[in-house]
Symmetry: C3
Subunit: 488 residues, 3 copies
């Protein structure tokens, strides 16, 4: 019998041999001894991860374009083991305020971007330049945010409170996670001591961690698979990019791209690195355009990987209150406009001087973004697409200007008490109609144009609502002006 | 040639042998003789079902934890056949008012939970204790419901009617299915007589069946596969748990759990019994937390199967008008508050005395629910999660109280005609704004907190709308009070 | 060693032999020479298509029911090659105004239904009778549309403009694609000349093409796979049939049918022709009921394929402003009602005389539609379903009548300036409330009843909003009448 036949027979007959597989460290084995039983969901999830199946030596040995780690060098003791519990939860214990002795190890609860940077330093650096990494402070350090939070969350009239904010804005923006103390709990093993955390649980993208680092990689790469597959699918973005303020997920799903994703992606490969258009997928997801390393099958880079999504985002479509070129710095809390409001644009529409990227950088980012369209679209299609998007930015900004002028007339006429009168700009019904003009309808319309989810630009919270709201605003303001005129 | 090699060769060469397969009863074979042609969709659906592929003897012979039937014993003639057309549609013909002679058999159209209880008695019992099983009567026997139905469905001003209610509220709540007569129809075979049913078709969860039983197992386990796989997926719940009043589906899908379900569940096993976290799935669906039998891989029960979802639901988040501990009895139609309204809470917010479960039962159910979090989450995460949920229940109830006080002031000021003035509480525009406060926005906000679909707690029908609506209500009421003051 | 064993061994040992595969034409090979590199996404997408894997001789040789092409005969030079770049983009160059010399070929950019008709003539003919094929002109030639577009898109007050309309209404309805000139661009190969197109890119269903043909097959069969699988899935329809005006996608997904599609369709066959209920799928999608060729496993036709969806659509549920029997002609722009508005119904509710199909045709189409229910439902279920749908059409039309009478009173009382007063019917806030009555809530309610997505008939933009809006309208009109009365 030939060896070939023997192999054939064995393949058919034998149960799959337990793969020798890469080595689990002794420390992680210690963790698994209890946690296999205590938290089988976590362990099972991790076992499916690339972390559990690859050593760093294997990861570092890949060809440049196929690498999933950006570290040039990692500590020797990590090289020949898989990335398990201990490798992440016991790293650099002194820097983590939530470190506590646990089963003989100094374990911290919250694994942070700084921990992940051990193997993924470039991604951590990029993310640190990303607006998202400042999502906590960009609210927390912005007085205008607090005025909105009080008016929205503080019902009945009153201040917003930390627990409500953790369940609302900071759920996506990230909380500040602090150690509040420790507590003893009886476990299956023994009575054990655990840290008590404030602002926890939270997987917000701009979380402030107990080691003072910013962000949560798990916002997109959910623990404990941390998979690239999940992050490449639009549903990873859905958790935060939903709602009329930023309906990116719904817009995408109803676009041609989303239609293809939903109908023919069964045969796509969401795990390949680099990601090859045409071979691995035939329509882009969010990650394709804004994050992923794209290359041709023969290894020519189409777009480099970046975790600073701004690299492929010329404009911030999200109007505050107007859409504008992306802010220069990820920390936007220091930007103040002439009306002394912490906004990146003036009430008249221009960006705050010096706060946003200039024309050259806009052009560079636009070129980088367009590059991702090239594998599937001719130049004529690309130019036509961006022409209409830029036009939509203009017209929706014009609508916001019209609304803002009306609101200012309304404030002057006493229809509501605005900032100039010492009031909040969101605590009266009419002011909410104004806010919805730019926070909801103008944003939806722009996302619709950007990603071809056309109904979001018309009847699904788009121009229909925008034009209707504008008329309501106008009628209310004119009514107030008339009433004021009469009083005089 | 070794037998092993022979096997290898055969596997590769031969077409798969038609499996001997379990036996179809003679009666069912009679059904199939026509229905294979008459209703090939039904037959094809059934062939894919476990019912068509397993005998009860096989089902009863499973190990305790692996059982999908709860009967200790079934009629002998059912033991060695699969569960086919005749086994369900001809069972106990006398009790079914919709039984009619059909091709030589006494066949009833509507298979009911009482029929299913032949093999699944525990599930039927549990379901009978479930609020859902009374979903019909809890509307039909509640005068307040009829007042809302008239005001909502009876447009232009007029009463609601049975056909409209079947197309709206009772579509999910279930209709009362009655035999209205019979009709003769020409079929491919012959002229045949069929029953005519009122309130039909309907798969509502609280349907009143012609055998006087309550409910429809097919509300979640759609006919004729009746699959556990479907019922374990969130889209089974979507049909009814959608809309701003109870946006559970949308909230789930936009949560981290939903994100994982949507991005990595390709490799999950939705059919395993028991259902093993970490092995079979790595994030929960609706069923995981509220229904399914969960166990560890070595057979330790994490949570027992229950079709009384209340067992793992301490509170009713759905506010009537306030969120409250779950009602004691599934029949809520007899609960009347001090304002003589059929509601489980007073207008001031307290639960109606004696109508809801007490603190001990709340604690017990909370513990049962938390048990399902344990495989994947530490105690600190679980406590932190429920802390914010209970806080959200408090704050949203407070907002409902503020709105209700305003509405009562509005009624007093003549802004609308309320129950105390002999009017309906929903037939004027202002009253609808009040109703949306608790029926839509407070509910959405609570579901958001319960299942981490955060945007539903803010801009997607959450606190933004709640606070905006409250301001509108307040301005309208103050305006009415001012106008009334002037009149005096 | 037996040949059988040899085969077994080879299967296990050898890499899959490159399939000889059908022949790519020389012209297409020329295209691929550059485009494999220039647009790898397009080429990869096409390689996955049936077009790239089948010759027309193979396609024409199929049994009647299994045919995917309807041509009796095609040009000889197409017979033995696959359908590649050149086969579509260089066909009949003279008729295409966007033809330009490109790499030695006369290439046109926009492949049109007339091109597709080379192999799919029946589908092109059917589509030409379909309302959808006139989606551009039915807006562009309708003055009432332009008045709405100006009021909705033209914000701040002003006319709508072509680029905005391409990003909104015409995105789905289709643009008029015109050649605006040419431009020279540097490519990887050389400087080349390209046509510049107005109204481009666009995949709208009623697009007017540079060869003067109507429509875009790619609206549903997205380029360059053009797959039947995509078109059979509901997400193909989502891109346009979304939003409160026509929430077909959401309604379907939340129905029992949609629930099955979402939970058990992993095992369905979306590519089989004919499409066999029970064997290939166990719940219908949009295409099943309105488009696809359905047959039993033994080849009996249940419903013939049609690309005139009207063949299985008795009523137009989309109210203008009332739901009505389908228009006779796909070109509806010539229909004018007694109020001189381009609407298929009078303001009092009756269809415009002669403009819609008569009772016989309604009955015929209803029968054709019901035929698709038969494989899975008894006659009693089908009759019960359509009884409630027709009842919903009646009640929602009655609600629209009530709203329209109120609006007419409002116009008379000066609450807004209507068409009779020389005003637009949509440029004031109150008029928008009237328009939402029929354009949003009545439509949603009808779609809900038609496809069993029940929440869309109640709280998700259904009867709740309809009855609430009606009350608001009534209160505003009564207020205006009172004010007018006082003035006199």
């Amino acid at each position: 019998m030939t060896p070939l036949l023997l192999a054939a027979a064995l393949v058919l007959a034998a149960p799959p041999a337990a793969p020798a597989g890469p080595k689990v460290s002794g420390d992680t084995k210690d963790c698994l001894r209890c946690h296999e039983t205590a938290t089988p969901g976590i362990v099972g999830d991790w076992r499916r991860s690339r972390h559990a199946q690859t050593t760093l030596r294997q990861a570092l040995g890949k060809k440049a374009l196929e690498k999933r780690v950006s570290a040039k060098k990692v500590p020797d003791d990590l090289l020949d083991v898989v990335v398990g519990c201990a490798e992440c939860h016991t790293i650099d214990p002194e820097s983590h305020k939530d470190t506590l002795e646990h089963g003989g190890f100094d374990v911290h609860v919250v694994v942070t971007p700084r921990d992940c940077a051990t193997c993924h330093p470039d991604e951590a650096d990029e993310f640190d330049r990303n607006l998202m990494s400042r999502a906590y402070g960009n609210l927390a350090n912005n007085p205008l945010y607090h005025s909105m939070a009080d008016d929205v969350n503080g019902i009945p009239p009153g201040k917003s409170d930390p627990v409500t904010e953790r369940s609302s804005c900071y759920a996506c923006h990230g909380t500040k996670v602090d150690v509040a103390g420790t507590v003893k709990r009886q476990t299956a093993v023994d009575e054990m001591e655990f840290v008590v955390l404030k602002g926890w649980p939270n997987q917000g993208v701009g979380r402030i961690n107990p080691d003072s680092s910013r962000g949560a990689c798990t916002a997109c790469h959910t623990r404990h698979q941390f998979s690239i597959e999940q992050a490449r699918k639009p549903e990873a973005c859905e958790s935060c990019h939903k709602g009329p303020d930023v309906p990116a997920f719904g817009v995408y799903m109803s676009s041609k791209h989303g239609s293809l994703y939903q109908t023919v992606s069964d045969s796509w490969n969401f795990s390949a690195v680099p990601w090859v258009p045409g071979r691995d997928f035939t329509a882009p997801t969010c990650a394709t355009c804004h994050v992923s390393l794209l290359a041709t099958a023969d290894g020519t880079v189409i777009a480099p990987r970046t975790h600073e999504m701004g690299d492929r985002l010329p404009w911030r479509l999200f109007g505050l209150p107007y859409a504008h070129p992306h802010p220069k710095s990820p920390d936007t809390s220091t930007i103040v406009n002439k009306a002394k409001l912490n906004l990146p644009t003036e009430l008249s529409g221009e960006p705050v001087a010096g706060a946003v990227i200039g024309p050259d950088e806009v052009a560079k980012r636009k070129a980088a973004l367009k590059q991702t369209c090239r594998p599937c679209h001719s130049q004529g299609v690309i130019e036509g697409h961006f022409e209409q998007l830029e036009h939509t930015i203009e017209t929706t900004n014009a609508a916001t200007l019209a609304a803002t002028k009306l609101m200012q007339r309304g404030w002057a006429a006493g229809a509501a008490k605005g900032p100039a009168q010492g009031g909040s700009p969101w605590d009266e019904a009419l002011e909410r109609h104004w806010a919805e003009q730019w926070l909801f309808w103008a944003n939806s319309t722009r996302f619709s144009s950007a990603m071809m989810g056309w109904d979001y630009g018309v009847f699904e919270g788009g121009r229909w609502d925008q034009s209707k709201g504008l008329k309501e605003l106008q009628e209310a303001v004119e009514h107030a002006e008339k009433a004021k005129g009469k009083k005089r």
